[in-house]
Protein backbone atom coordinates (compact mmCIF):
# COMPACT_ATOMS: atom_id res chain seq x y z
CA UNK A 1 0.00 0.00 0.00
CA UNK A 2 1.11 3.53 -0.74
CA UNK A 3 0.92 6.02 2.09
CA UNK A 4 -0.04 9.37 0.67
CA UNK A 5 -2.25 12.27 1.70
CA UNK A 6 -5.39 14.18 0.93
CA UNK A 7 -5.39 17.85 -0.11
CA UNK A 8 -6.01 18.84 3.50
CA UNK A 9 -2.94 16.90 4.63
CA UNK A 10 -4.65 13.87 6.16
CA UNK A 11 -2.91 10.53 5.52
CA UNK A 12 -4.63 8.09 3.19
CA UNK A 13 -3.58 4.64 1.98
CA UNK A 14 -3.99 3.64 -1.66
CA UNK A 15 -2.91 0.81 -3.91
CA UNK A 16 -0.63 1.71 -6.78
CA UNK A 17 -3.51 1.28 -9.22
CA UNK A 18 -5.61 3.66 -7.14
CA UNK A 19 -2.76 6.18 -7.28
CA UNK A 20 -2.72 5.79 -11.07
CA UNK A 21 -6.47 6.42 -11.26
CA UNK A 22 -6.08 9.56 -9.16
CA UNK A 23 -3.19 10.79 -11.30
CA UNK A 24 -5.09 10.16 -14.53
CA UNK A 25 -8.14 11.95 -13.16
CA UNK A 26 -5.99 14.92 -12.10
CA UNK A 27 -4.44 15.16 -15.56
CA UNK A 28 -7.88 14.93 -17.15
CA UNK A 29 -9.22 17.69 -14.91
CA UNK A 30 -6.28 19.97 -15.82
CA UNK A 31 -6.82 19.40 -19.53
CA UNK A 32 -10.54 20.09 -19.18
CA UNK A 33 -10.13 23.23 -17.10
CA UNK A 34 -7.03 24.86 -18.60
CA UNK A 35 -7.49 23.43 -22.09
CA UNK A 36 -3.87 22.34 -22.05
CA UNK A 37 -2.01 19.28 -23.30
CA UNK A 38 -2.08 16.18 -21.08
CA UNK A 39 1.02 14.58 -19.58
CA UNK A 40 2.55 11.80 -21.66
CA UNK A 41 2.36 8.17 -20.53
CA UNK A 42 6.05 8.36 -19.58
CA UNK A 43 5.34 11.46 -17.49
CA UNK A 44 2.48 9.68 -15.75
CA UNK A 45 4.64 6.64 -14.99
CA UNK A 46 7.40 8.84 -13.54
CA UNK A 47 4.88 10.81 -11.50
CA UNK A 48 3.45 7.60 -10.05
CA UNK A 49 7.00 6.47 -9.20
CA UNK A 50 7.65 9.74 -7.38
CA UNK A 51 4.37 9.53 -5.45
CA UNK A 52 4.73 5.83 -4.58
CA UNK A 53 8.40 6.06 -3.52
CA UNK A 54 8.38 4.55 0.00
CA UNK A 55 10.99 6.96 1.32
CA UNK A 56 9.68 9.98 3.18
CA UNK A 57 11.84 12.40 1.20
CA UNK A 58 12.24 12.41 -2.58
CA UNK A 59 14.68 14.49 -4.61
CA UNK A 60 15.65 15.12 -8.23
CA UNK A 61 18.34 13.18 -10.03
CA UNK A 62 21.66 15.00 -10.29
CA UNK A 63 21.58 17.46 -13.16
CA UNK A 64 17.84 18.13 -12.86
CA UNK A 65 18.16 20.84 -10.22
CA UNK A 66 16.43 24.16 -10.82
CA UNK A 67 16.50 27.73 -9.56
CA UNK A 68 14.66 28.63 -6.38
CA UNK A 69 13.22 32.11 -5.99
CA UNK A 70 11.57 32.77 -2.66
CA UNK A 71 8.95 35.39 -1.96
CA UNK A 72 8.77 37.66 1.10
CA UNK A 73 11.75 36.16 2.93
CA UNK A 74 11.64 38.52 5.95
CA UNK A 75 8.00 37.64 6.56
CA UNK A 76 8.81 33.96 6.87
CA UNK A 77 10.94 34.69 9.93
CA UNK A 78 8.43 37.16 11.36
CA UNK A 79 5.79 34.43 11.23
CA UNK A 80 8.08 32.14 13.18
CA UNK A 81 8.30 34.74 15.92
CA UNK A 82 12.00 35.33 15.30
CA UNK A 83 12.73 39.02 15.75
CA UNK A 84 15.71 39.27 13.41
CA UNK A 85 16.50 42.38 11.36
CA UNK A 86 15.68 42.14 7.67
CA UNK A 87 19.26 42.31 6.32
CA UNK A 88 20.25 39.42 8.59
CA UNK A 89 17.28 37.37 7.44
CA UNK A 90 18.39 37.73 3.84
CA UNK A 91 21.97 36.84 4.78
CA UNK A 92 20.60 33.74 6.48
CA UNK A 93 18.74 32.78 3.31
CA UNK A 94 21.91 33.31 1.28
CA UNK A 95 24.41 31.49 3.46
CA UNK A 96 22.29 29.11 5.48
CA UNK A 97 19.30 28.22 3.34
CA UNK A 98 20.89 28.09 -0.12
CA UNK A 99 18.55 30.61 -1.72
CA UNK A 100 19.34 31.44 -5.34
CA UNK A 101 17.67 34.87 -5.08
CA UNK A 102 16.80 37.18 -2.21
CA UNK A 103 13.65 39.15 -1.60
CA UNK A 104 13.22 42.11 0.70
CA UNK A 105 9.67 42.77 1.85
CA UNK A 106 7.84 44.85 4.42
CA UNK A 107 5.73 43.02 6.96
CA UNK A 108 2.43 44.22 5.46
CA UNK A 109 3.61 43.18 1.99
CA UNK A 110 0.93 45.14 0.07
CA UNK A 111 1.90 47.92 -2.35
CA UNK A 112 -0.30 50.56 -0.77
CA UNK A 113 1.07 50.53 2.79
CA UNK A 114 4.65 50.14 1.52
CA UNK A 115 4.17 53.38 -0.41
CA UNK A 116 3.84 55.22 2.92
CA UNK A 117 7.21 54.01 4.21
CA UNK A 118 9.24 53.44 1.07
CA UNK A 119 12.21 55.68 2.05
CA UNK A 120 12.79 53.42 5.07
CA UNK A 121 12.51 50.39 2.84
CA UNK A 122 14.99 51.89 0.38
CA UNK A 123 17.47 52.21 3.20
CA UNK A 124 17.14 48.56 4.19
CA UNK A 125 17.47 47.48 0.56
CA UNK A 126 20.59 49.61 0.02
CA UNK A 127 22.15 48.38 3.25
CA UNK A 128 21.47 44.72 2.46
CA UNK A 129 22.85 45.02 -1.07
CA UNK A 130 26.29 45.81 0.33
CA UNK A 131 26.59 42.50 2.11
CA UNK A 132 24.69 39.98 -0.03
CA UNK A 133 25.59 38.27 -3.30
CA UNK A 134 22.49 36.82 -5.09
CA UNK A 135 20.07 39.04 -7.02
CA UNK A 136 17.83 40.95 -4.64
CA UNK A 137 14.25 41.76 -5.58
CA UNK A 138 11.82 43.91 -3.65
CA UNK A 139 8.57 42.02 -3.17
CA UNK A 140 5.04 43.34 -2.81
CA UNK A 141 1.54 42.05 -3.27
CA UNK A 142 -0.40 44.35 -5.60
CA UNK A 143 -3.51 43.72 -3.47
CA UNK A 144 -5.86 45.99 -5.39
CA UNK A 145 -8.72 45.61 -2.88
CA UNK A 146 -6.69 47.88 -0.55
CA UNK A 147 -7.77 50.75 -2.81
CA UNK A 148 -11.48 50.05 -2.32
CA UNK A 149 -13.81 50.94 0.51
CA UNK A 150 -13.40 50.79 3.46
CA UNK A 151 -9.61 50.76 2.98
CA UNK A 152 -9.44 53.11 0.04
CA UNK A 153 -11.30 55.74 -1.93
CA UNK A 154 -12.88 53.53 -4.63
CA UNK A 155 -16.23 51.79 -4.43
CA UNK A 156 -15.99 48.08 -3.55
CA UNK A 157 -16.89 45.79 -6.46
CA UNK A 158 -17.45 42.93 -4.01
CA UNK A 159 -20.36 44.89 -2.62
CA UNK A 160 -21.64 46.35 -5.88
CA UNK A 161 -21.77 43.11 -7.87
CA UNK A 162 -24.16 41.20 -5.56
CA UNK A 163 -26.48 44.20 -5.92
CA UNK A 164 -26.36 43.82 -9.69
CA UNK A 165 -24.54 47.13 -10.19
CA UNK A 166 -22.31 45.78 -12.93
CA UNK A 167 -21.31 48.99 -14.70
CA UNK A 168 -20.58 50.75 -11.42
CA UNK A 169 -18.49 47.78 -10.25
CA UNK A 170 -16.46 47.82 -13.46
CA UNK A 171 -15.83 51.56 -13.23
CA UNK A 172 -14.77 51.26 -9.59
CA UNK A 173 -12.28 48.55 -10.52
CA UNK A 174 -10.71 50.66 -13.24
CA UNK A 175 -10.33 53.52 -10.80
CA UNK A 176 -8.62 51.21 -8.27
CA UNK A 177 -6.44 49.69 -11.01
CA UNK A 178 -5.23 53.15 -11.94
CA UNK A 179 -4.22 53.90 -8.33
CA UNK A 180 -2.48 50.54 -8.03
CA UNK A 181 -0.57 51.07 -11.25
CA UNK A 182 0.68 54.43 -9.98
CA UNK A 183 1.86 52.92 -6.69
CA UNK A 184 3.64 50.05 -8.44
CA UNK A 185 5.47 52.54 -10.62
CA UNK A 186 6.46 54.57 -7.59
CA UNK A 187 7.73 51.51 -5.72
CA UNK A 188 9.47 50.01 -8.72
CA UNK A 189 11.33 53.24 -9.35
CA UNK A 190 12.16 53.72 -5.66
CA UNK A 191 13.59 50.24 -5.19
CA UNK A 192 15.53 50.27 -8.45
CA UNK A 193 17.02 53.63 -7.54
CA UNK A 194 18.01 52.10 -4.19
CA UNK A 195 19.96 49.46 -6.11
CA UNK A 196 17.62 46.45 -6.05
CA UNK A 197 17.80 44.16 -9.05
CA UNK A 198 14.08 44.54 -9.52
CA UNK A 199 10.57 43.77 -8.31
CA UNK A 200 8.58 40.69 -7.47
CA UNK A 201 4.82 41.09 -7.71
CA UNK A 202 3.42 38.31 -5.55
CA UNK A 203 -0.15 36.94 -5.58
CA UNK A 204 -0.89 38.97 -8.67
CA UNK A 205 -4.54 39.16 -9.77
CA UNK A 206 -5.86 38.18 -6.35
CA UNK A 207 -8.26 41.07 -6.89
CA UNK A 208 -9.22 39.84 -10.35
CA UNK A 209 -8.61 40.82 -13.95
CA UNK A 210 -8.39 44.57 -13.25
CA UNK A 211 -5.53 43.93 -10.83
CA UNK A 212 -3.71 41.85 -13.45
CA UNK A 213 -4.29 44.65 -15.96
CA UNK A 214 -2.77 47.25 -13.61
CA UNK A 215 0.27 45.04 -12.99
CA UNK A 216 0.91 44.39 -16.68
CA UNK A 217 0.70 48.09 -17.46
CA UNK A 218 3.03 48.94 -14.58
CA UNK A 219 5.56 46.33 -15.74
CA UNK A 220 5.46 47.70 -19.27
CA UNK A 221 6.11 51.25 -18.06
CA UNK A 222 8.84 50.24 -15.61
CA UNK A 223 10.66 48.30 -18.33
CA UNK A 224 10.41 51.27 -20.68
CA UNK A 225 12.13 53.40 -18.08
CA UNK A 226 14.56 50.76 -16.74
CA UNK A 227 15.18 48.12 -19.43
CA UNK A 228 17.57 46.21 -17.15
CA UNK A 229 15.15 45.95 -14.26
CA UNK A 230 14.29 42.33 -13.42
CA UNK A 231 10.62 41.63 -12.76
CA UNK A 232 9.14 38.42 -11.46
CA UNK A 233 5.37 37.96 -11.36
CA UNK A 234 3.84 35.35 -9.09
CA UNK A 235 0.15 34.68 -9.62
CA UNK A 236 -2.60 34.32 -7.02
CA UNK A 237 -4.61 31.50 -8.53
CA UNK A 238 -4.86 29.14 -11.46
CA UNK A 239 -7.11 31.40 -13.49
CA UNK A 240 -7.64 35.12 -13.54
CA UNK A 241 -10.88 35.93 -11.76
CA UNK A 242 -13.24 37.86 -14.00
CA UNK A 243 -14.37 40.54 -11.59
CA UNK A 244 -14.46 43.11 -14.36
CA UNK A 245 -14.86 40.53 -17.06
CA UNK A 246 -14.00 42.38 -20.23
CA UNK A 247 -10.61 44.03 -19.70
CA UNK A 248 -8.06 43.40 -22.41
CA UNK A 249 -4.30 43.82 -22.50
CA UNK A 250 -2.70 44.02 -25.94
CA UNK A 251 -5.90 42.75 -27.52
CA UNK A 252 -6.48 39.74 -25.25
CA UNK A 253 -9.16 39.38 -22.62
CA UNK A 254 -7.52 38.76 -19.25
CA UNK A 255 -10.43 37.21 -17.35
CA UNK A 256 -10.30 33.44 -17.25
CA UNK A 257 -6.68 33.15 -18.37
CA UNK A 258 -5.00 29.95 -17.19
CA UNK A 259 -1.24 29.66 -16.43
CA UNK A 260 -0.02 29.26 -20.00
CA UNK A 261 -1.79 32.44 -21.07
CA UNK A 262 -0.81 34.26 -17.89
CA UNK A 263 2.87 33.51 -18.63
CA UNK A 264 2.50 34.74 -22.20
CA UNK A 265 0.95 38.01 -21.04
CA UNK A 266 3.60 38.58 -18.37
CA UNK A 267 6.25 38.09 -21.07
CA UNK A 268 4.41 40.48 -23.41
CA UNK A 269 4.48 43.17 -20.73
CA UNK A 270 8.22 42.66 -20.24
CA UNK A 271 8.32 40.46 -17.12
CA UNK A 272 11.36 38.19 -16.75
CA UNK A 273 9.95 35.29 -14.72
CA UNK A 274 6.35 34.09 -14.42
CA UNK A 275 5.07 32.15 -11.43
CA UNK A 276 1.87 30.15 -11.90
CA UNK A 277 -0.14 29.17 -8.82
CA UNK A 278 -2.32 26.07 -9.16
CA UNK A 279 -4.79 25.75 -6.31
CA UNK A 280 -5.03 22.61 -4.21
CA UNK A 281 -8.47 21.07 -3.81
CA UNK A 282 -8.56 19.97 -0.18
CA UNK A 283 -11.15 17.26 -0.83
CA UNK A 284 -9.05 15.56 -3.48
CA UNK A 285 -5.95 13.44 -2.96
CA UNK A 286 -2.34 14.58 -3.19
CA UNK A 287 -1.79 12.42 -6.34
CA UNK A 288 -4.83 14.07 -7.99
CA UNK A 289 -3.73 17.57 -7.02
CA UNK A 290 -0.09 17.08 -7.98
CA UNK A 291 -0.96 15.55 -11.35
CA UNK A 292 -3.30 18.44 -12.06
CA UNK A 293 -0.76 21.08 -11.03
CA UNK A 294 2.12 19.50 -12.96
CA UNK A 295 -0.02 19.16 -16.09
CA UNK A 296 -0.96 22.84 -16.10
CA UNK A 297 2.58 23.96 -15.26
CA UNK A 298 4.27 21.76 -17.83
CA UNK A 299 2.10 23.21 -20.58
CA UNK A 300 2.77 26.74 -19.30
CA UNK A 301 6.53 26.08 -19.48
CA UNK A 302 6.14 24.74 -23.02
CA UNK A 303 4.40 27.83 -24.36
CA UNK A 304 6.07 30.49 -22.21
CA UNK A 305 8.82 32.57 -23.80
CA UNK A 306 10.23 33.40 -20.34
CA UNK A 307 11.29 31.24 -17.38
CA UNK A 308 8.46 29.72 -15.37
CA UNK A 309 8.80 29.29 -11.60
CA UNK A 310 5.78 27.43 -10.21
CA UNK A 311 4.49 28.33 -6.77
CA UNK A 312 4.85 25.18 -4.66
CA UNK A 313 3.80 25.70 -1.07
CA UNK A 314 0.85 25.80 1.29
CA UNK A 315 -2.23 25.02 -0.83
CA UNK A 316 -0.59 25.51 -4.22
CA UNK A 317 1.38 23.43 -6.70
CA UNK A 318 -0.11 20.15 -5.45
CA UNK A 319 0.93 20.72 -1.83
CA UNK A 320 -1.76 20.15 0.83
CA UNK A 321 -3.44 23.16 2.40
CA UNK A 322 -1.64 23.13 5.73
CA UNK A 323 0.34 25.86 7.46
CA UNK A 324 2.99 23.21 8.09
CA UNK A 325 3.09 21.55 4.67
CA UNK A 326 4.19 17.91 5.02
CA UNK A 327 7.76 17.26 3.90
CA UNK A 328 6.80 14.07 2.06
CA UNK A 329 4.42 16.02 -0.19
CA UNK A 330 6.60 19.13 -0.64
CA UNK A 331 9.66 17.08 -1.64
CA UNK A 332 7.57 15.07 -4.12
CA UNK A 333 5.96 18.18 -5.59
CA UNK A 334 9.36 19.87 -5.83
CA UNK A 335 10.80 16.85 -7.65
CA UNK A 336 7.83 16.38 -9.96
CA UNK A 337 7.75 20.06 -10.94
CA UNK A 338 11.44 19.90 -11.87
CA UNK A 339 11.57 16.55 -13.63
CA UNK A 340 8.10 16.27 -15.18
CA UNK A 341 6.83 19.84 -15.23
CA UNK A 342 10.20 20.98 -16.67
CA UNK A 343 10.04 24.13 -14.62
CA UNK A 344 12.82 26.71 -14.87
CA UNK A 345 12.49 27.23 -11.16
CA UNK A 346 10.16 27.22 -8.19
Amino acid sequence: MVLTRMGDGAFVKMTESEVRKEVEAGVEEAVKKAKCSPLTEDDIKRLIEIICEPRKFVSVERGNELVLTYDSQPLKFTRLGLPIAMPQILQTYERGLMADTLEMAYVHYSAKPVKMIFPEEQYVVAETLLTTTPALLYGVMPNMPMYTKPDGPCENASELLPKGLIKEAQEAQLEAADLLERDLLLLGEAMYEAGADGLDLDTTAAGGDAEFYACLRAIEKLKERYPNMSIEVGMAGEFVLGFHGSLEYKGERLAGMYPHDQCRMIAKAGGNIAGPAINTNTRKSFPWNLARAVTMCKYAAEVSPIPVHANVGMGVGGVPMQITPPIDCVSRASTAMAEIGKMDGL
Binding site: D8, G9, D151, E159, L161, P162, V240, L241, I323
Partner: protein, 219 residues
Protein backbone atom coordinates in the same frame (compact mmCIF):
# COMPACT_ATOMS: atom_id res chain seq x y z
CA UNK B 1 -44.53 16.93 -17.66
CA UNK B 2 -43.00 20.03 -19.15
CA UNK B 3 -41.84 20.01 -22.72
CA UNK B 4 -38.07 19.33 -22.77
CA UNK B 5 -37.57 22.04 -25.37
CA UNK B 6 -39.14 24.66 -23.09
CA UNK B 7 -36.97 23.56 -20.16
CA UNK B 8 -33.86 23.74 -22.33
CA UNK B 9 -34.81 27.22 -23.57
CA UNK B 10 -35.37 28.38 -20.00
CA UNK B 11 -31.95 27.08 -18.98
CA UNK B 12 -30.33 28.69 -22.00
CA UNK B 13 -31.98 32.07 -21.30
CA UNK B 14 -30.27 32.03 -17.92
CA UNK B 15 -26.92 31.04 -19.38
CA UNK B 16 -27.26 33.89 -21.88
CA UNK B 17 -28.31 36.33 -19.15
CA UNK B 18 -31.35 37.22 -21.30
CA UNK B 19 -33.82 38.75 -18.88
CA UNK B 20 -36.49 39.49 -21.47
CA UNK B 21 -36.40 35.99 -22.93
CA UNK B 22 -36.50 34.40 -19.48
CA UNK B 23 -39.60 36.43 -18.60
CA UNK B 24 -41.22 35.58 -21.94
CA UNK B 25 -40.58 31.86 -21.42
CA UNK B 26 -42.01 32.01 -17.91
CA UNK B 27 -45.24 33.54 -19.27
CA UNK B 28 -45.28 31.10 -22.17
CA UNK B 29 -45.03 28.21 -19.73
CA UNK B 30 -47.86 29.49 -17.60
CA UNK B 31 -50.03 29.98 -20.70
CA UNK B 32 -49.32 26.35 -21.62
CA UNK B 33 -50.38 25.29 -18.12
CA UNK B 34 -47.05 24.02 -16.77
CA UNK B 35 -46.52 23.53 -13.06
CA UNK B 36 -44.61 26.70 -12.08
CA UNK B 37 -42.71 24.96 -9.25
CA UNK B 38 -41.51 22.26 -11.61
CA UNK B 39 -40.65 24.86 -14.25
CA UNK B 40 -38.43 26.75 -11.79
CA UNK B 41 -36.73 23.62 -10.46
CA UNK B 42 -36.15 21.90 -13.81
CA UNK B 43 -35.66 24.89 -16.11
CA UNK B 44 -34.27 27.98 -14.44
CA UNK B 45 -32.43 26.44 -11.47
CA UNK B 46 -30.27 24.10 -13.63
CA UNK B 47 -29.36 27.18 -15.66
CA UNK B 48 -28.07 29.12 -12.70
CA UNK B 49 -26.27 26.04 -11.31
CA UNK B 50 -24.42 25.67 -14.59
CA UNK B 51 -23.57 29.36 -14.47
CA UNK B 52 -21.93 28.72 -11.09
CA UNK B 53 -19.90 25.83 -12.47
CA UNK B 54 -18.80 27.85 -15.50
CA UNK B 55 -17.73 30.66 -13.21
CA UNK B 56 -15.69 28.30 -11.07
CA UNK B 57 -13.72 27.10 -14.07
CA UNK B 58 -13.08 30.61 -15.35
CA UNK B 59 -15.25 30.27 -18.43
CA UNK B 60 -17.64 33.06 -17.53
CA UNK B 61 -17.15 36.03 -15.25
CA UNK B 62 -18.93 37.84 -12.45
CA UNK B 63 -20.74 40.42 -14.61
CA UNK B 64 -22.18 37.55 -16.65
CA UNK B 65 -23.13 35.73 -13.45
CA UNK B 66 -25.07 38.77 -12.32
CA UNK B 67 -26.83 39.07 -15.67
CA UNK B 68 -27.84 35.43 -15.36
CA UNK B 69 -29.06 36.18 -11.85
CA UNK B 70 -31.23 38.98 -13.21
CA UNK B 71 -32.76 36.64 -15.75
CA UNK B 72 -33.60 34.07 -13.06
CA UNK B 73 -35.02 36.75 -10.79
CA UNK B 74 -37.31 38.01 -13.54
CA UNK B 75 -38.62 34.58 -14.51
CA UNK B 76 -38.96 33.28 -10.96
CA UNK B 77 -40.81 36.47 -9.98
CA UNK B 78 -43.46 35.77 -12.61
CA UNK B 79 -43.71 32.09 -11.72
CA UNK B 80 -43.84 32.81 -7.97
CA UNK B 81 -46.89 35.00 -8.51
CA UNK B 82 -48.62 32.08 -10.18
CA UNK B 83 -47.55 29.76 -7.35
CA UNK B 84 -49.01 32.11 -4.74
CA UNK B 85 -52.22 32.56 -6.73
CA UNK B 86 -52.67 28.81 -6.89
CA UNK B 87 -52.20 28.49 -3.13
CA UNK B 88 -49.30 26.07 -3.68
CA UNK B 89 -45.95 26.43 -1.94
CA UNK B 90 -42.41 26.28 -3.20
CA UNK B 91 -39.73 25.27 -0.72
CA UNK B 92 -38.61 28.45 1.02
CA UNK B 93 -35.49 30.14 -0.33
CA UNK B 94 -32.66 30.10 2.16
CA UNK B 95 -31.85 33.17 4.21
CA UNK B 96 -28.10 33.36 4.70
CA UNK B 97 -26.01 35.68 6.88
CA UNK B 98 -22.59 36.01 5.29
CA UNK B 99 -19.47 37.59 6.76
CA UNK B 100 -15.71 37.57 6.73
CA UNK B 101 -14.68 36.91 10.33
CA UNK B 102 -13.26 39.43 12.77
CA UNK B 103 -9.75 40.79 12.11
CA UNK B 104 -9.85 39.50 8.56
CA UNK B 105 -10.06 42.12 5.82
CA UNK B 106 -10.32 39.77 2.85
CA UNK B 107 -13.74 39.97 1.27
CA UNK B 108 -13.23 39.02 -2.37
CA UNK B 109 -14.07 35.36 -1.94
CA UNK B 110 -17.03 36.15 0.28
CA UNK B 111 -18.22 38.67 -2.32
CA UNK B 112 -18.18 35.97 -5.00
CA UNK B 113 -20.09 33.60 -2.74
CA UNK B 114 -22.65 36.36 -2.06
CA UNK B 115 -23.03 37.00 -5.79
CA UNK B 116 -23.63 33.33 -6.60
CA UNK B 117 -26.06 32.95 -3.71
CA UNK B 118 -28.06 35.96 -4.82
CA UNK B 119 -27.98 34.55 -8.34
CA UNK B 120 -29.51 31.36 -6.97
CA UNK B 121 -32.35 33.24 -5.36
CA UNK B 122 -31.18 33.03 -1.75
CA UNK B 123 -31.74 35.97 0.53
CA UNK B 124 -28.29 37.15 1.53
CA UNK B 125 -27.50 39.46 4.41
CA UNK B 126 -23.88 40.39 3.77
CA UNK B 127 -22.31 41.87 6.91
CA UNK B 128 -19.03 42.61 5.16
CA UNK B 129 -15.63 41.90 6.60
CA UNK B 130 -13.92 42.09 9.98
CA UNK B 131 -17.22 41.20 11.67
CA UNK B 132 -17.22 40.14 15.34
CA UNK B 133 -18.65 36.67 15.96
CA UNK B 134 -21.24 38.04 18.37
CA UNK B 135 -22.58 40.40 15.72
CA UNK B 136 -22.84 37.58 13.19
CA UNK B 137 -24.82 35.39 15.59
CA UNK B 138 -27.02 38.27 16.80
CA UNK B 139 -27.86 39.25 13.22
CA UNK B 140 -28.73 35.67 12.33
CA UNK B 141 -31.12 35.53 15.28
CA UNK B 142 -32.70 38.92 14.57
CA UNK B 143 -33.16 38.15 10.89
CA UNK B 144 -34.38 34.61 11.41
CA UNK B 145 -31.60 33.32 9.16
CA UNK B 146 -31.38 29.67 8.20
CA UNK B 147 -27.63 29.64 7.72
CA UNK B 148 -24.51 31.51 8.81
CA UNK B 149 -21.69 31.42 6.29
CA UNK B 150 -18.26 32.72 7.25
CA UNK B 151 -15.06 33.19 5.35
CA UNK B 152 -11.51 33.44 6.70
CA UNK B 153 -8.37 33.91 4.65
CA UNK B 154 -5.87 33.73 7.45
CA UNK B 155 -4.84 30.88 9.71
CA UNK B 156 -4.82 33.46 12.48
CA UNK B 157 -8.47 34.46 11.96
CA UNK B 158 -10.12 31.14 11.16
CA UNK B 159 -10.39 30.46 14.91
CA UNK B 160 -13.33 32.90 14.95
CA UNK B 161 -15.32 30.31 13.03
CA UNK B 162 -14.99 28.08 16.08
CA UNK B 163 -16.13 30.96 18.28
CA UNK B 164 -19.38 31.17 16.30
CA UNK B 165 -20.06 27.48 16.94
CA UNK B 166 -19.57 28.06 20.66
CA UNK B 167 -21.87 31.10 20.70
CA UNK B 168 -24.61 29.12 18.94
CA UNK B 169 -24.21 26.29 21.45
CA UNK B 170 -24.49 28.73 24.35
CA UNK B 171 -27.75 30.05 22.95
CA UNK B 172 -29.12 26.58 22.23
CA UNK B 173 -29.24 27.31 18.52
CA UNK B 174 -26.76 24.74 17.28
CA UNK B 175 -28.49 22.77 14.55
CA UNK B 176 -31.28 25.29 14.26
CA UNK B 177 -29.12 27.86 12.53
CA UNK B 178 -26.79 25.88 10.28
CA UNK B 179 -23.20 26.99 9.80
CA UNK B 180 -20.94 26.76 6.80
CA UNK B 181 -17.30 27.73 6.58
CA UNK B 182 -14.91 28.55 3.76
CA UNK B 183 -11.79 30.52 2.85
CA UNK B 184 -8.30 29.71 1.62
CA UNK B 185 -6.86 27.91 4.69
CA UNK B 186 -10.20 26.36 5.70
CA UNK B 187 -10.68 22.65 5.05
CA UNK B 188 -13.26 19.97 5.70
CA UNK B 189 -10.92 18.74 8.43
CA UNK B 190 -11.25 22.13 10.16
CA UNK B 191 -15.02 22.19 9.64
CA UNK B 192 -15.38 18.82 11.36
CA UNK B 193 -12.98 19.80 14.11
CA UNK B 194 -14.99 22.86 15.08
CA UNK B 195 -18.37 21.22 14.49
CA UNK B 196 -19.62 23.44 11.66
CA UNK B 197 -22.36 21.95 9.50
CA UNK B 198 -20.63 22.29 6.16
CA UNK B 199 -17.54 23.33 4.24
CA UNK B 200 -17.50 24.94 0.82
CA UNK B 201 -14.40 24.47 -1.35
CA UNK B 202 -15.48 27.28 -3.66
CA UNK B 203 -18.47 29.51 -4.44
CA UNK B 204 -20.39 26.97 -6.54
CA UNK B 205 -19.79 24.40 -3.81
CA UNK B 206 -21.18 26.88 -1.27
CA UNK B 207 -24.42 27.18 -3.25
CA UNK B 208 -24.80 23.40 -3.38
CA UNK B 209 -24.09 23.26 0.33
CA UNK B 210 -26.86 25.76 1.14
CA UNK B 211 -29.34 23.57 -0.71
CA UNK B 212 -28.08 20.50 1.12
CA UNK B 213 -28.24 22.20 4.52
CA UNK B 214 -31.74 23.51 3.86
CA UNK B 215 -32.77 19.91 3.23
CA UNK B 216 -31.39 18.89 6.63
CA UNK B 217 -32.63 21.87 8.59
CA UNK B 218 -34.83 21.22 11.63
CA UNK B 219 -36.75 24.08 13.21
Amino acid sequence: MIDEKLLEEAKQSVLDGDKELAAKLARQGLDAGVDPVEFIEKGFVPGIMEVGDLFESGEIFLPEVMMAADAVKEAVGILNEAIEASGKKRGGAAKVVLATVEADLHDIGKGIVASLMVANGFEVIDLGRDVPSQKIVDTAIEEGADIIGTSALLTTTMTHQKEIEELLKEKGLKGKIKTMVGGAPVTERWQKKIGADGFGENAADAVRLVKELMGKKTN
